[in-house]
Symmetry: C2
Subunit: 419 residues, 2 copies
């Protein structure tokens, strides 16, 4: 047994995964549902455990959305070779023995799908999720946006070396006024903006309000992301270090819209979703002027999330065609500069980097991830020829809270599949 040396899963007093199943709690059940079982955006319950377990699989019932069309073609049926991986053993970062199955419960997975060599080897649904339903991706959304940016860059439709203002002159007086597209893609901008999920005074609150579709009528702040982003002042220098600030992704979304002339929904549909053999349309949450939340607003099904991960693992080729340019995938998988990532202080991600809205491990498997709060993940392990897609409702937002059990279990499954 390894002695405890690394970060541990923080203690919390929340109901267990089994006890927080929305159906068991009666959340949104009945006509009408009892008052204390109703989930709303306005009262914050849609973002609060345990009601968020219902909300994250039902976002379109809570807010306006825009479809990401899968197009008219047939779905690409993923081949299956199922095996029970729940017993795969692992050791948490602080040295405790665990299993893949225990991890699923302890991280409040709403759904998890493991692909090996393109085949579904393991797939389970919990909470309010089912195979045909979309779950919110949270910041996994960013990796879709970053991939689109790499694709447009590969085609020359955007130039990462160009100033942001080449595409969005409205940002001239803001922190982004002297930043490049690449700095926005890699989040190495210096912006006076904080993203602390537990702090009600953090700028993330103002960001969310600006991008909300529904607001209290007393609200008199920025009416959309387009109003909000130009207000952000510079702090520090660009190109020095990685700092995770979602507003970068909203700026990147704005650049993509301007460069492509399309909405993000249509761009993602045309370039990826309609080619992937997706089973279902995806959808973006939209703000009060129809703008997609690039930083966290995408909702897709678990299997479609896995399809996208598998497309990346295969160098962008999937469903019989090159969907993401090979150079775009290579740019992501190659990662950024770990030295610029280290100062951000992610205890669970030593030696990692951030590149084009993806998190890159630089481990011996070359693994990289799309990561969203509360446990949303795509884990691509090229060496193990494995992809794991997971939706979750972990009670604590930041993934540093579930990484200590999640990452060792993902790696253990990779090793088990390679054996």
């Amino acid at each position: 047994m390894t002695s405890p040396t690394g970060p541990a899963v923080p203690q919390h007093n929340s109901l267990s995964a089994a006890d927080s199943e929305p159906a068991k709690l009666g959340i949104m059940e009945g006509c009408p549902p009892p008052a204390d079982k109703i989930v709303r955006v306005a009262d914050g319950s849609a973002r609060t455990f345990p009601k968020m377990r219902w909300a994250y699989s039902n976002m379109r019932q809570l807010a306006p959305t825009k479809a990401v069309s899968r197009g008219p073609g047939p779905a690409f049926e993923l081949p299956r070779a199922e095996q029970d991986l729940t017993g795969v053993k692992a050791t948490t970062m602080d040295g405790k023995p665990t299993t893949f199955g225990a991890m699923i419960a302890e991280t409040y997975a709403d759904g998890i799908c493991v692909l090996h060599r393109g085949r579904v080897v393991f797939e389970r649904y919990y909470g309010a999720l089912s195979p045909e339903k979309q779950h919110i991706c949270m910041s996994v959304t960013k990796s879709f946006i970053g991939t689109l940016a790499e694709m447009l860059a590969d085609e020359g439709a955007i130039d990462p070396a160009s100033p942001v203002t080449r595409y969005v002159p409205e940002l001239k007086a803001s922190a982004f006024g002297d930043a490049t597209v690449r700095q926005v893609m890699d989040m190495t901008t210096g912006i006076k903006y904080t993203e602390v999920y537990t702090d009600p005074n953090s700028d993330i609150v103002a960001y969310r309000l600006a991008g909300a579709a529904m607001r209290d009528s007393n609200y008199d702040g920025p009416q959309s992301f387009y109003d909000y982003l130009p207000t952000l002042p510079k702090q520090g220098e660009h190109d020095v270090q990685f700092t995770y600030k979602t507003v970068n992704t909203e700026v990147l979304g704005w650049i993509l819209r301007r460069a492509s002339g399309a909405s993000l929904s249509d761009l993602l549909s045309e370039r990826v979703w309609s080619k992937l053999g997706a089973e279902q349309d995806g959808h973006f949450l939209v703000d009060s002027v129809g703008t997609e939340g690039a930083g966290g607003g995408l909702n897709v099904t678990l299997r479609d999330l896995a399809r996208f991960g598998e497309c990346m693992r295969q160098g962008g080729a999937f469903n019989g065609r090159q969907i993401v340019a090979e150079r775009a995938v290579a740019s992501v998988a190659g990662g950024g500069d770990p030295a610029r990532f280290a100062p951000a202080g992610y205890a669970t991600l030593p030696g990692w980097s951030y590149r084009s809205q993806w998190w890159v491990s630089h481990n011996e498997h070359g693994a990289y991830m799309a990561r969203g709060v509360h446990g949303q993940s795509i884990y691509v392990d090229p060496k193990a020829e494995m992809v794991i897609a997971r939706f979750a409702s972990f009670p604590i937002a930041g993934n540093v809270a579930n990484d200590p059990i999640t990452l060792p279990c993902f790696m253990a499954v990779a090793r088990a599949l390679m054996a």
Copy 2:
């Protein structure tokens, strides 16, 4: 030439269909869209011509929705035998010569699809609609709900002769306290409730606010349909005459949920949408507690609307299976009592009746319709073996305003196809 004898299309000063194309007006175009081109529910523009032309094809971007799943199966491809029907001649109710093509423009069709013997003979899209997009059905939604009620009645899962309170005891003290399910289905209840779209003091306003997903924070009225419906007092007697009051359909939706244990979305999916070979999911607008708008909240694609109409025309059999019970279709197609309908005073619908949320012509073709404000229609003509599905954005809400040109043109196309 017939001399003018009947109702005419009212004069209005709105932009023409061609000049009110949302793309031409720049509605919701650009990032951000200019302030005067933004469509919102809150400021009423989503319900006001011409912005409603964009809104009616994009409702899910404006409000929360719940999916009506088409299920995993393949779409049932409608066979095609297209012909140009635009030149088909007709005479308006007030005696003016017109054509099917002129009618399409003059009624601001967003899409129209004509089936003859199950084949698509004519299909066009305008405004903000396209084949893969859902358009709001308005009160055509009611006919779906009425059909579900007939289906459950055929199975004995609801009893039309039973009091409403057998299923919804909460309505005991309201106008519905001594009404039967059949009276609700046929809208022969006596309720103190007005539905005048042009009167800001009409009860339809309170109804809409109760069922709104997004409201001003100063609003302190009923929080959902479930709060609102029990407040409606009786006026007059039940079972005397037809009076069009949407609240009947919300009560019927409540009955269906209680009797089936399912949401209306899931019920429609399970019983109809997943069997129809629909191309796309539909979706319902939902109120602030997730309740579907039974009276007008369904959104589907034009071709899927046509598929449902064709299923009805074929006695409920479609896509190789009996979807709607034959007796349920017969109950609708047989119509209600024209004598009870006549006092409602619909000048454009002489001799018609209302049955299970459908409008029945009792004409020589046995035609019946699903009808929604601003021109939404399913027109089933059994004798001509024809179905017409139309979505529209006619500037005036009530269909009495477009019937004088719509109905003669529908009948003229039926005759042309029979020739």
